[in-house]
Amino acid sequence: MSFEPKILGIACNWCTYTGADLAGTTRLHYPQNLRVVRVMCSSRINPSFIFRAFQLGADGVLVGGCHPGDCHYNTGNLYARRRLAVTKKILEFAGLEPGRFRVEWISASEGNKFAEVVQEFTAQIKELGPQQKLKIEQLQEKA
């Protein structure tokens, strides 16, 4: 059986989530490996969410937010940009593959872009294979 990755998507309510909705209503096809969690803003994302997702068996994490300058709360994603950049550097220095974590700015009208990003990211994770480094060992045995 081919490897089907589990990908956590964390999407901002105002842009990326609505963009995903648009991708759905326009009947675009994209892989079903993505599990989307809706948050009110990308700056709502505690970096611990990302570390914890990897520990609980996510193979990749995709964060979506509004384009910088378009945030519903004016400045949320500008804080998030700095914060998530640090998260990425930390995961990288700890030794996790840098490709497993990605941040994308997708606006509410970019249903196409959403589908494209998910396709691309899923393909990338499939190539990287299962994430075993941060995953909790008991979970590894069950799998």
Partner: protein, 287 residues
């Protein structure tokens, strides 16, 4: 070498003067331990305590850690080496202490030694500084002409590692962790109450000293100190199992400096990098 005796005498003199004049309620400095090699953090509150103050090459505690024990308005004199003075600036930026409450007694020092290994720690900590960034009184002569060691020099070896190798390295180090939280206790920037690791709802990580929980604790701690770590190296010195935590902190500090163009605790008027933003920050930092 720094003249430690001279600094000790000056420290006693200044502490006595400040306490006598009633300018401060407490002097935070170093006191005698059970031998010369083990001085202790010490709070002198009366003139009689002043005689117990010491300063030698093993006095590498970051006294800024103890500032937050006193309520706002308490006048405090604090002995601060280079890294400690940065910690004070960072705490002022974060509004945990007020500048006007403090009398900073700057100590220019090099040749400080680790109590456990006796090695000179200048290359590992101090952020390449020997003189305090900020002070009211200077207890020794400013140091000039010493070789400036780049704070990030020690990182090169680890940055050159393959990611698998680096993962194996950190896994091995964090597996040693016994979760005593000495790193958190020693850190002048770790003041959250409760710490995320002590929370039960949500429970962010397992509390048993095992691999996944350790990893979660340390990675999150590095993240919480991003752009705030002032490179004093207290965490790794406090660690009973010698995890080189300072390496990871240095790496994060380096990245923050490169991405956001400011080092932690250098200017009173700065804001900590992660509670600030620039519209012109580039998206490249996310790649």
């Amino acid at each position: 070498m720094t003249d430690f005796r001279q600094i000790e005498n000056n420290l006693k003199k200044e502490a006595k003067r400040l306490l006598e004049a009633g300018e401060v309620a407490v002097v935070l400095a170093y006191g005698r331990g059970y031998d010369e090699k083990h001085p202790m953090p010490f709070a002198a509150k009366a003139i009689a305590h002043v005689e117990s103050l010491v300063f030698n090459e093993y006095c590498n505690f970051n006294m800024a850690r103890y500032l937050m024990r006193y309520p706002w308005g308490t006048k405090i004199a604090i002995a601060a080496k280079a890294a400690d003075s940065r910690a004070i600036i960072q705490l002022v930026q974060e509004e945990k202490v007020r500048r006007e409450d403090l009398v900073i007694m700057g100590i220019p020092a090099y040749g400080m030694k680790n109590q456990k290994t006796n090695e000179v720690i200048d290359s590992k900590t101090t952020g390449g500084l020997y003189n305090p960034v900020i002070y009211d009184i200077l207890l020794g002569e400013e140091i000039h002409g010493q070789k400036i060691i780049s704070p990030y020099e020690v990182l090169a070896e680890y940055e050159a590692m393959d990611k698998e190798e680096r993962w194996a390295f950190w896994k091995k180090e964090f597996d040693k962790c016994i979760r005593c939280y000495a790193c958190r206790k020693a850190c002048p920037m770790c003041y959250c109450d409760p710490c995320f690791i002590d929370q039960n709802k949500p429970r962010w990580a397992d509390k048993a000293p095992q691999s996944p929980g350790n990893m979660m604790y340390h990675l999150t701690r590095f993240h919480h100190l991003a752009g705030r770590c002032i490179d004093c190296g207290e965490c790794s010195r406090a660690c009973p199992v010698d995890i080189p935590l300072y390496l990871f902190h240095k790496k994060v500090a380096k990245e923050c400096e490169e991405m956001f163009g400011q080092a932690a605790g250098m200017k009173l008027e700065d804001k900590p990098a992660l509670v600030d933003f620039r519209v012109e920050d580039s998206d490249k930092i996310l790649e």
